[in-house]
């Protein structure tokens, strides 16, 4: 249960970077799928 102040700007900054890093994760996953398929 959250009881500490999650901040506003700092939380928003975390959410933005989480979105970018989460996107990178998807790209990495996609690329590894493509390469694995090619290798097969």
């Amino acid at each position: 249960m959250l009881y500490t102040d999650p901040g506003s700007g700092l939380l928003l900054w975390q959410v933005v970077t989480a979105g970018v890093v989460g996107g990178l994760f998807q790209v990495r996953k996609l690329l590894s799928k493509v390469f694995l398929r090619k290798r097969d």
Binding site: M1, L2, D5, G9, L10, L11, V15, V21, G22, F25
Partner: protein, 466 residues
């Protein structure tokens, strides 16, 4: 009548701490108990307990009927008692940095087993000697597997990264930050300290300025839960912890120097002969009296704190200068000695702070009765001359602090350091003589040992409380 006091730990709705007859007990409500017992049975909890990074916590046993009113429908856990509590306002930047590293280590280790830290406050950490220990067992909670955010991130930034940045780049003392703020430094505050140009430069821009600008876009939906695939959320959180760790590494306090960091090594403090005699005197006292808890007031580089720790005492070492305290902390941590160095000016010791002045106990409130030996070596002239504290008051404070011994150094009015501090006000200390000093001591103590240092007016004493 059993002594019970409620430690001020009311912010977390899951429970609170009480001190009952020297036992530290945590009263936990039902939802809190389910989280805590799940965490304590996890592998990560066992690892943290084994390494001493987490305070020992177990279900309380024994007679708790005296507490019936405050524990009804709750579970009670017992924690190991950390010998001496300290607060972030008493830590040099090195210790705040170590506390931040431990918080990150724990948050990262929890991730693998589905737990997270719900807060990231420096008040979750105490120091056992020089080593940080995480004491808030209720900080652990099971995290939602798809949650890509660490909601305690902002608190971590406010309490660790931004204060360390303010100290490293702007020279703002850590004690001033934490004495006046409960929850660290806010990004907007740091921007105004940095000024219009510096706030646009790294690392201020990414750590403070950008988050501060983003506050304009605050909307209610910012606080709703976010979900991703489990492996994706873990990837995001690991990357966040890596970035925080990198930031902390960049903000690690470097070697610094101050007016007092070379004191004791250069004239006019002591000749080699005087220094050796003084060490021999203190060492002799330690060998004969074997005190278990020593308070070293005005420890400077910590020569006598180290000596006491090597002789088996548990030492709390105080100095007003964060540079020398930081240096001492590095040294005792490396040598694994039981010394807790703190930034405390004995002429203005840490006051009671927080809600009703009860959240942080004053330094003197914590220190009274906690030490069987108090050292006050080469300090008395600073209190007499610079602080203008009367001799009787100084001896009275020593009697308040020690339960048995005091090792004190008398400094006469013709001492070069005293004259330097007096700056022409020598007439104010004309009455300071060995006889006057001994008379003041005799009001509270018996003099059991006395040794004048060669070729100077300084005299060392061992006093025993009446």
């Amino acid at each position: 009548m059993p002594r019970t006091s409620a430690a001020p730990s009311f912010r977390d709705p899951a429970g609170h701490v009480i001190v009952h007859e020297d036992r530290v007990l945590r009263v936990v409500n039902k939802p809190g108990d389910s989280e805590l017992s799940a965490f304590l049975s996890s592998g990560v909890a066992h690892r943290l307990l084994d390494t001493g990074a987490l305070v020992r916590t177990e279900r309380a046993s024994g007679d708790l009927t005296q507490l019936a009113a405050s524990i009804s429908e709750c579970s009670v856990y017992e924690h190991e008692r950390i010998p001496f509590s300290s607060y972030p306002s008493e830590w040099p930047p090195e210790m705040l940095h170590a506390a931040g590293v431990l918080t990150l280590d724990i948050a990262e280790q929890c991730l693998d087993e589905g737990f997270g830290l719900k807060d990231a406050s420096p008040y979750n950490i105490l120091f056992r000697g020089p080593d940080p220990v995480f004491i808030d067992a209720l900080s652990f909670e099971r995290r939602h597997p798809g949650d890509p955010t660490w909601l305690a991130y902002a608190q971590f930034m406010r309490n660790f990264s931004l204060p360390l940045l303010a100290h490293k780049r702007l020279g703002i003392p850590i004690d001033q930050i934490f004495r006046t703020r409960r929850d660290g430094v806010w990004p907007g505050e740091l921007c105004s300290w940095a000024g219009p140009w510096r706030q646009l430069l790294p690392p201020f821009f990414s750590l403070a300025t950008l988050p501060f600008w983003l506050t304009r876009f605050e909307k209610d939906r910012l606080y709703r839960h976010r979900r991703m695939a489990h492996d994706q959320s873990l990837f995001v959180l690991r990357s966040l912890f890596r970035r925080l760790r990198r930031t902390l590494r960049r903000l690690e306090p470097g070697q610094r120097s101050s007016a007092w960091s070379q004191y004791g090594h250069v004239p006019p403090s002591y000749t080699t002969e005087q220094s050796a005699r003084k060490q021999e005197f203190v060492d002799g006292f330690l060998r004969r009296s074997r005190p278990s808890n020593v308070l070293d007031i005005g420890c400077n580089t910590g020569v006598f704190s180290l000596l006491a720790a090597q002789r088996g005492s548990s030492v709390v070492a105080l100095d007003a200068d964060p540079v020398v305290v930081g240096k001492l902390w590095r040294s005792v941590r490396e040598r694994k000695l039981d010394v807790l160095p703190l930034v405390v000016d004995i002429a203005r010791p840490t006051p009671a702070l927080g809600w009703r002045n009860q959240e942080s106990v004053s330094f003197l409130g914590r220190a009274r009765g906690a030490f069987d030996a108090v050292f006050m070596l080469a300090v008395i002239h600073h209190l007499l001359v610079s602080e203008r504290v009367p001799l009787d008051e100084i001896v009275g404070l020593l009697a308040d602090l020690t339960t048995r011994y005091t090792v004190v150094e008398y400094v006469g009015p013709d001492d070069p350091m005293l004259r330097r501090l007096a700056r022409g006000r020598d007439h104010l200390h004309r009455d300071l003589t060995v006889a006057a000093f001994e008379n003041a001591c005799l009001a509270h103590f018996k003099i059991v040992e006395k040794a004048p240092l060669p070729r100077c007016s300084r005299v060392l004493y061992v006093l025993v409380k009446r």
